[in-house]
């Protein structure tokens, strides 16, 4: 039987933007629904994010991007602390290959200071030789931006979502929005159809990433278009974890920040991304040209990077809608807030975007009454790969399953896999993003069947029902059962 649930705020899209908005709104006495078309949160644009918390440089001082990035860089630290997400302020170097480009660095520094970025300095070869020794000796100078950092993009989304749900928000995955109807008369102005159910909402927040233009059009506003821009990223073996001490950027070009050397909170360095426009919102393929471009770009800055260091690669799509973010209440469809075109630095900006959206809702009539019992904190997820062996020993004494290693490349225990499932992982990719199992150099060659069996135990699934990332991506066609 079809039911119609009613909500104050209905958010479409559980990427980092939607998750941050849900968590922010869950501080108030509101009925909140978060709809995600994929099998798990973070499976769209966010899963391919490089995990950089930008300082805010290289954005025009009067842009939404610039303002929200600098604010987000401050807000994310508190969120990371509250939710127990691993954030490290590693700092950033923007390097030049010629003394004649130093004035460019000075310009970036000046513009950054206008945005409120602090403690930047131009550093020279002698400084670089000490602090970033693997950098090419052809680099005479760099702009050092200490407030840039790194975070795990998908674990941030999972933890934001989990905390929002703990504070009363409702999350529905595998719920693709198929229709939006505007209602008149009552306080609920939208009726959203997803996965065969109907949901009414007073306010509709569109954080649908690559499909934000389509969702907005469904709600009656069709004045922008998402143009996906593809980026290929290449991950290196964890053995190269310490090859760079900072995020290393070349001077940006008009369309992209260039090929970067990125430290990640998982340990594996990453090189990339490319930037090419694509008309296909599902095109996540990597190319031979991309591989060559990224390797050459990284080697130019750090010559010791080798082809053999690469253990994985992927592509992501930036949901671009013009130059800046689009974040606005649509007077043509009262109650609709569009949050679109959230490309880089969207991950950094997300907490600030969430605060801004709450403000837009308030300005347009949503009463925000703070909850007395908001749970801001979340118990930190344990990862053996980020703690010393002495701490591992204590954990094993408390729970023997920490000593049962499932993924040998990344040292992930059965306990961590079971915890991930209990926290909501339903697919092999969901387990990978949460725990790193299957993400190492053997690519799941040794641990895939073991993880599948744990999923069977925890969720009572048949082998044929286990998927890589949702319906259609089943791993096994047929299970031969003993009669």
């Amino acid at each position: 039987m079809q039911t119609t649930e009613k909500y104050d705020a209905l958010i479409i899209g559980a990427g980092v933007t939607g998750a941050a908005i849900a968590r922010e709104l869950s501080k108030y006495k509101l009925r909140i629904l978060l709809l995600e078309k994929e099998a798990e949160p973070a499976f769209g644009v966010s899963k391919s994010n490089s995990g950089i918390i930008h300082a805010g440089t290289q954005n025009p001082p009067d842009s939404l991007k610039g303002r929200l990035c600098v604010q987000g860089n401050r807000l994310i630290r508190e969120i990371a602390r509250e939710l127990g997400v691993h954030f490290v302020e590693v700092g950033q170097l923007i390097v030049v290959f010629s003394e004649s480009d130093v004035p460019e660095l000075e310009k970036i520094k000046r513009e950054g200071e206008e945005l409120g970025i602090e403690n930047m300095s131009i550093v020279r070869r002698d400084w670089l030789a000490v602090h970033e020794p693997n950098l090419s000796p052809d680099i005479p100078a760099a702009l050092y931006v200490p407030s840039a950092g790194i975070i795990s993009p998908y674990r941030l989304v999972y933890d934001l979502t989990e905390n929002a749900v703990k504070n009363g928000a409702v999350l529905k995955t595998s719920h693709k929005v198929t229709g939006i109807k505007r209602l008149s008369g009552g306080p609920h102005r939208f009726e959203v159809e997803a996965a065969g159910d109907r949901y009414q909402a007073r306010f509709l927040i569109n954080a649908a990433g690559l499909f934000a233009d389509k969702v907005s059009a469904m709600a009656g506003v069709a004045d922008f278009k998402i143009t996906p821009r593809k980026g290929e990223e290449y991950l290196l073996d964890k053995k190269r974890e310490n090859m760079a001490n900072h995020l290393v950027f070349p001077l940006p070009t008009p369309t992209s920040k260039g090929i970067l050397i990125i430290k990640t909170s998982d340990g594996n360095p990453m090189i990339g991304p490319t930037a090419s426009e694509t008309g296909d919102r599902r095109d996540l393929s990597t190319t031979d040209e991309g591989f060559r471009e990224v390797l050459a770009g990284a080697r130019k800055m750090m010559p010791s990077v080798e082809k053999g260091d690469i253990i994985a690669y992927f592509a992501g799509l930036r949901p671009a809608a013009g130059k800046d973010f689009i974040i606005r209440h649509e007077s043509a469809a009262p109650g609709l807030v569009n949050v679109a075109g959230i490309q880089s630095p969207g991950l950094t900006a997300a907490p600030a975007i969430a605060v801004m959206v709450a403000g837009l809702l308030k300005d347009n009539g949503l009463v925000l009454t703070p909850k007395k019992n908001f749970h801001s904190a979340r118990e930190k997820t344990t990862h053996l790969f980020e703690i010393p062996l002495s701490r591992t020993r204590e954990l094993i004494q408390k729970d023997p399953a920490y000593g049962d290693i499932v993924c040998r490349c990344e040292m992930v225990s059965a306990k961590e896999i079971r915890d991930a499932i209990r926290r909501g992982a339903r697919t092999m990719d969901g387990i990978k993003f949460r725990t790193r199992a299957q993400a190492g150099r053997c690519h799941g060659g040794f641990c895939t069947t073991r993880i599948m069996k744990i999923m069977q135990e925890e969720l009572g699934m048949n082998a044929e029902e286990i998927t890589k990332r949702g319906e259609g991506s089943e791993l096994v066609r047929e299970e031969r059962r003993h009669e």
Partner: protein, 325 residues
């Protein structure tokens, strides 16, 4: 900290032979660590025959071959077997840490033999561009799924690389009712044993494309097709030779890499290209008292030779312990 004469890491054919070889050479106190729940290693999933022709003058399956050593190992009073035990750290002073359910153990040894086997090269190492859907498996993983779990991975498969595991899996999948549409090999001849090409491909009418490569893998959720092409003498794609093969499964069988991360941690010198220990003699490493045998030392064609050389590794470790270096 526990003290041991010898710790052997890995309970596959190499580790068992090394432990037995050391015991035969007089070592009385051997700890054998195995990560899995039983001894035998990868042999347990190799249910095809062809093992032991040299060693036993008999044609055994993998589990049969393993079983002969498992019994001996378990009965040998000098060897203590610790299952579900995962070595996490090794120092150049031969201190080894390992996890097992319920404990983090530390042990100091007079000699250590690493029999950690190898892992498969992946699609990412070739590399093959295209999308990343479900249905792409290292051949050994597909073997484990079918032979150990009874899970049939797909309906129509293409195999990249004609190494022995790939060839064996072509036949195995054909026997399970899957359609194996092609084996694609970039080299002008097969990398596998001639007998495997005959018995696993020819007998089942499975086409082998030599001097060909996969250019792209396509499919959004599950593999839908691969694009193949002929290559020239420098392995570059020949223009105008592309063709498409519809399939839902791609097996990657493009070689093995010695699994020597533990050895590397001890400070031993590793060849960055092959991931094998750098040393002037088989089974040795650049760290005194640390030996590597079996596929961790170099990738073997036949398990019979793994056994032979690993027994020697046991004897070499015994000598090292005797001389008290």
């Amino acid at each position: 900290m526990n003290e041991r004469e010898l710790v052997v890491v890995g309970g596959g054919p190499a580790g068992m032979a090394a432990a037995l070889g050391a015991a035969a050479a007089g070592v009385k106190d051997i700890l054998l660590l195995e990560r899995d729940q039983h001894l035998g290693g990868i042999l347990n999933q190799c249910i095809h025959p062809g093992f032991g022709l040299h060693r036993f003058k008999a044609e055994l399956t993998g589990p049969e071959y393993a079983d002969r050593f498992v019994r001996e190992t378990l009965q040998n009073p000098a060897i203590e077997v610790s299952l579900r035990s995962f070595a996490v750290k090794l120092t150049n002073t031969l201190k080894l840490s390992y996890l097992r359910p319920g404990a983090l153990e530390e042990v100091k040894a007079k000699a250590v033999i690493l029999a950690t086997g190898c892992r498969e090269r992946t699609r990412e190492m070739i590399p093959i561009s295209g999308s990343r859907p479900a249905g792409i498996y290292p051949a050994g993983l597909a073997q484990k799924m079918i032979n150990m779990e009874g899970w049939i991975p797909g309906r129509e498969a293409v195999i990249v690389g004609s190494g022995d595991i790939g060839l064996i899996m072509a036949r195995r999948m054909a026997l399970e009712g899957m359609k194996v549409k092609a084996v694609i090999e970039i080299q002008p001849k097969s990398r596998g044993l001639a007998r495997n090409v005959a018995q696993c491909l020819d007998d089942y009418g499975i086409p082998l494309y030599l001097s060909h490569k996969i250019v792209r893998i396509e499919g959004s959720n599950r593999v839908e097709r691969v694009i193949a092409a002929a290559v020239d003498g420098d392995f570059c794609e020949k223009p105008g030779t592309r063709f498409e093969i519809a399939c839902d499964t791609v097996l990657i069988s493009v070689g093995l890499i010695p699994e020597n991360e533990l050895l590397e941690m001890s400070g031993a010198e590793i060849d960055r290209k092959t991931n094998a220990p750098v040393a002037n003699e088989v089974n040795r490493t650049s760290v005194p008292g640390v030996f590597a045998c079996g596929n961790a030392c170099r990738v073997y064609d036949l398990v019979d030779w793994v056994t032979r050389d690993s027994e020697k590794a046991g004897a070499m470790a015994a000598q090292h312990i005797r001389e008290g270096k």
